[in-house]
Symmetry: D2
Subunit: 144 residues, 4 copies
């Protein structure tokens, strides 16, 4: 793939991400994308913190969840949603931003299983702050 094609794919993915008002509210940004993988960044801001000045766990789990979805989408190439996931928080998220890196570990016909590591980035240094694992499923009509 040419550098231009890769750039176009990244731009398109970022545009789709910003169609989610909540992702826009959090200033989420896709840093990289590829077959079965995605790297998503959320900058730390005062609004996204909890009472101790750390990034709120809800922002960390948002980043993990969304990175899982996009990795699964890039593995299955069809519209998908995260149907379930699990996250372990291992360190407070302190710093300038978090980066969630997700990879698909298995893609079947109707769902993909993906994993994600979330790092807190501070002055260019990354520290693991959470790990997640979940299922991304083809989008179907609501079951009622």
């Amino acid at each position: 793939m040419t550098r231009e094609a890769a750039h176009d794919i990244l731009q398109a993915a970022q545009a789709r991400l910003l169609e989610q008002p909540f992702s826009a509210l959090l200033n989420a940004e896709i840093l990289a994308i590829g077959p079965g993988r995605c790297e998503l960044r959320v900058p730390v801001s005062r609004d996204l913190q909890q009472q101790h000045g750390f990034l709120h766990g809800g922002v960390v789990s948002y980043a993990a969840d969304n990175a899982l979805t996009i990795a699964g989408y890039r593995a299955m190439n069809q519209a998908v949603v995260t149907s379930e996931f699990k996250i372990n928080y291992v360190r407070p998220a302190i710093g300038d931003a978090i980066v969630a890196r997700a990879q698909c570990v298995h893609a079947g016909k109707t769902q993909a299983v993906c994993r994600c590591e979330v790092y807190a980035v501070s002055d260019g240094t990354e520290r693991l702050c959470a790990v997640a694992q979940g299922t991304v499923a083809l989008l179907s009509k609501p079951a009622g």
Copy 2:
């Protein structure tokens, strides 16, 4: 407990919740609180949606995570954090608000296991949209 005492506890819990800028950003509200349980509401707004007009999964998982933490806090009566949780999304969250109801199922000396159901509320009717389960642990200093 008198009605006044219960009201004071609820007010104090709500005040603590709003010390989290992210919870304030999401307009989260504690509807009820008691020993080992918590009921948390997040109103649906355009900002909190994803691209299909549903509430973003990240908001649903925020509500579950925070309700688990508060239920665990009210079981252990010490400062706690959610150390891990798992969520299954079962229906798109559509409506006026979501309500997350969490209960502690077992509290030990250093951690509590809690469960949560998240309902989408539309015109006064509730529909289950997610279930979660996780561990709430005593807050300790970051392990480095």
Copy 3:
């Protein structure tokens, strides 16, 4: 349903369970079954313990997993497998037997989400020893 019909359903479910050599090895028994629910018992024996004399966690998770599957099967009435689950152990499993009680909380067209509580039974007294939550999916051919 007549008592005879209920008895026949239970007998048929137990016969299917024993078609699993591993369930037979563990002497698992279905105590009750109904729409979207299942109650499974595993008697404690020396062979199923870990080094401290408690029932091995692997037996507790087997019971949870299988009860989830059967509850999902009885919700969807089609051949299913557990595709994922999560378990929190809350107390050592000590006593005469464990009983796993699973309920379906939502059934869609292709999968069901179920929850389970596992109790240790000792002299007729039950104590919660684990809680689980997972997804039961229609059985499909291996994806390769």
Copy 4:
């Protein structure tokens, strides 16, 4: 470390594993062990299958659970138990044996978070059949 020392550590770990009657019943074997990691093998036998001739999910989750525990033990060097874990089954376990490989991703003072991949081994070829993630905690006295 000399080859002899590594061999002794492996032998000691295997001896401890076999102190668990359930691990002995399943013929589980530790193939490799190191700081924060463990590789555990369970040979497929008729007794451990489910009704379709695949290894029972309960055996796969046993292997994941135990490998997580041992990896956490080797990260913390104190007596530990798996307090919770989550597993996604991605393929039926068919073949001669399964091998569960677990790694600690973060160790704190009271618990470690570990991940595990389970492979089905058939004629020397490995295929991923499950991924797991969980928490290993210092062993404490039962909380009552």
